[in-house]
Symmetry: C2
Subunit: 486 residues, 2 copies
């Protein structure tokens, strides 16, 4: 039999920019964790654990966070509006409150059906709700025409970077460590990631001197640095910026003419202090110095995936454009049109997130209780994990949790462990994370997946998994690992 002709596409001739992109959150470790999960489901008893814990990804409902009842009741009506034909039964039998029914009716009146494409920018009435939410949050006006609904914050970031980056000389300042969506998308665009290091010694503070240094270096290398990404609260660090920190970044943006991309998807996941939005701070500064700050271009992103909403699977989100040139805005809009529209049921979830039941409304008490329970649970588990890392694990050093859904402890491994990693062509943190998964079924992401200072090692874990038993498993594994390689 003759041999087959070669295939058209192979690893050497496909898009090289996709090939170099890295996205470790769902990389080899996650795939291996999935294989373990399937083996356990099929009754495999040979593994040293009975459950896989996906602490690699901020996916609250996968780890048993319950959805907010009000949200899901409204969505169920939107999916099947005929439920409204018997509102009494919904109330008496299924315990829907009147405000659930009213909200579903209001939404259906403007959306009409969640089965039709919406406006590519998002359903107008939902954009109005988002603008009102921002106005209430910040005390400054927000215009619905500046709001763009998107399929999770990720698709918003993708669109914005596509507009901002013109060619291979275009650069974007990205924090290190960072959520790898940014570097991966910049790789695909063949644009430059200009890394700036967060300061671990100040609980991963944003150090504007470090940013200036990176910026100068990049400029000297011919990079046309156009924008800066700030993740606040931080992913993977959890660090939460103060009003002064934000001013520092905005000062830099004004001086250096940088577009500010404020990834604020963890804005309600704040344990210490209060969340301050970039938009609010910018508006305050614009009142003080209208010329200096007057033309800063800011985009702020939010999502239904995080916070106490935790509805990752619904792919809801929005971004607000502040100060952009209208011709540029038109190009952003055109880009969004090519993908038609974000999922409409996810858009409706955005409306519910920004406009939840208010005090005095029938669903308020349950909403408030569910919300607070999730919030407290996250904080408790963050502290438990933090204590375990700092008190019970040799060579591990973790900053105090301030927000988001993650801890990013530094690990100092014995040189024998580092040699063992090298022997199997692994980064030491990757080697450690693989051993952790094999021993405990707990999947974390090595620090190298987010970037880390040369010579340091970390891993990122969510604190979403219920209970504390799994924390003990990490402690035990770590002890055995250190003993093995000491």
């Amino acid at each position: 039999m003759s041999t087959l002709p070669p295939r058209r596409l192979n690893i050497d001739n496909i898009n090289p920019h996709v090939r170099v992109a890295k996205y470790a959150v769902r990389g080899e470790l996650a795939t291996k964790a999935e294989e373990y999960r399937i083996r356990l489901e099929n009754g495999d008893k040979s593994l040293p654990f009975s459950k896989v814990i996906s602490a690699n990804i901020g996916n609250p409902q996968q780890l048993d966070q319950q959805p907010i009842t009000f949200f899901r009741q409204v969505l169920s009506i939107l999916e099947y509006p005929k439920l409204l034909q018997n509102g009494e039964a919904l109330k008496n039998i299924f315990e829907f409150e009147q405000d659930v029914i009213d909200r579903a009716r209001t939404l259906l009146k403007s959306v009409r059906t969640v089965g039709a494409y919406s406006h590519s920018q998002g359903v107008p009435i939902i954009r109005k709700s988002v603008a009102r939410f921002i106005q209430l949050r910040d005390g400054f006006p927000s215009d619905p025409s500046d709001i763009y609904l998107c399929g999770g914050a990720s698709s918003g970031v993708n669109a914005l970077l596509h507009i901002i980056c013109a060619d291979r000389t275009s650069g974007v300042l990205v924090p290190i460590p960072q959520y790898p969506l940014y570097t991966a998308t910049l790789s695909v665009l063949e644009a430059q990631s200009v890394p700036y290091c967060l300061d671990e010694s100040t609980a991963w503070g944003t150090d504007v001197h470090a940013i200036r240094e990176s910026l100068s270096k990049a400029k000297a290398e011919g990079v046309d640095v156009r924008a800066i990404v700030v993740i606040n609260p931080g992913n993977p660090t959890g660090a939460s910026l103060t009003a002064d920190d934000i001013k520092d970044v905005l000062d830099l943006a004004a001086e250096e003419r940088l577009v500010v991309i404020a990834d604020e998807v963890y804005q309600t996941n704040v344990f210490i202090g209060e969340f301050t939005s970039f938009k609010k701070r910018l508006r305050e500064l614009q009142l003080e110095e209208p010329v200096k700050y007057g033309n800063i271009e800011l985009v702020s992103l939010h999502s239904t995936s995080k916070g106490m909403v935790g509805e990752c699977g619904h792919r809801g989100g929005y971004f607000e454009l502040v100060g952009f040139d209208q011709e540029v805005v038109a190009q952003i809009y055109k880009f969004l049109c090519i993908m038609l529209c974000p999922p409409v049921i996810g858009q409706c979830l955005v409306e519910l997130m920004v406009n939840p039941p208010k005090e005095g409304e029938p669903s308020y008490e349950l909403y408030q209780r569910e919300y607070t329970t999730i919030q407290e649970g996250l904080h408790e588990r963050a502290l438990a994990l933090y204590e375990a890392f700092n008190k019970s694990m040799e060579g591990v050093d973790c900053q105090e949790p301030q927000g988001a859904m993650y801890l990013f402890p530094q690990i100092r491994l014995p040189s024998k462990a580092i040699a063992a990693a090298e022997a199997v062509h692994r980064q030491p943190d990757e080697f450690y994370a693989l051993r952790l998964l094999d021993a405990t079924g707990i999947c974390v992401v090595p620090g190298s997946g987010f970037g880390q200072k040369e010579g340091t090692l970390h891993f990122r874990t969510t604190f979403l998994a219920p209970g504390t038993e799994w924390v003990e498993r990490i402690v035990e594994f770590h002890k055995a690992f250190m003993d093995e390689f000491r």
Copy 2:
């Protein structure tokens, strides 16, 4: 007061490849239609029409196509699984059948919650259902590991073109006229669209000689042509390929080593003959000549947005990869991971589309009735529109509707109309479509938005809007237009 510093981004320094991308389906005309809609809603009586009809976009539910009851009942339970706590009430009060409840339970068992990110490739059990559906449709096996769920077919196309195109020399054969997602995405990627003309004289047949000609020309110009897009049934033409037509394309793909991108989202919208999938035809040919056809790379796309499902807003879809190199597949998977996962409720809708109620099951009769009513309605309106175009409109020539949701009539305009268009710097078909919108509130897309042979003019209209009154409005407008410019 001092002047503000210039903005960082302007139309001349943003991504030039986004700037040149064209996507007319949601362009100026659609925006104007939206403005008219808002004016009418606000009680404006000055317009010569009382309703806007969006015939510019295949958005069935916007034009009052009703969702399939079974689908939406299951989705409502997935959104609020506590409805299952009183299945009797669902059945007795809300007329849910037992199979609705059973299906929701089955899906919840594997998906667990529609609020969590799924596997980036899609929920495993849903991929199994898709594979079974393909196997039943084609009579050839399909492997769930080759199925990728995506957010509407558009996001699948976006991912695939990102992998296939390596640099500015990479080219993809695209039919003219075509759905502009293809040319727009290739523009953004700075890759080459290699247009091949469909043959209007044979009801928009796919003419392999025309393809070969385009291919030779592109090769001579140094374009590395890597793939061919075939839209079957066609958008905007509605043309449906025969088994022989498909063989011609596969022969060419084999000879010229082209990846075949089969956009089969209209596979159930076929009025004449039967739909034959590229996958089926490829497998048949591979049995006959295993070497020649053995390594053809084929990707076939489907969607929940079209057909009798018409659930555009849910952004559900899938693609099947056939014959791809595993290292290439790994890069496609990584690319999908960066955007995390398609909307999970949309994934569940894919499951319902490919695995609807079967004969003998309680929901079958209603499902079948709803499905058939939609199907017949589409066919009736297609014929009514076709007749109006051909019999009642001077200088208009329309091919017989074969499938999809569109007609693409050719219009021959008087030279005075063409001069009038030139005078306002418009393409003649654009001028015509704007005048149609202004006079009737009916929004269509000029042929130039899809590409058309030099010297010809067309427009695309869906046949989704209910009733026939609007068809008469087009006829009247056309008469007045021709009289004005004769």
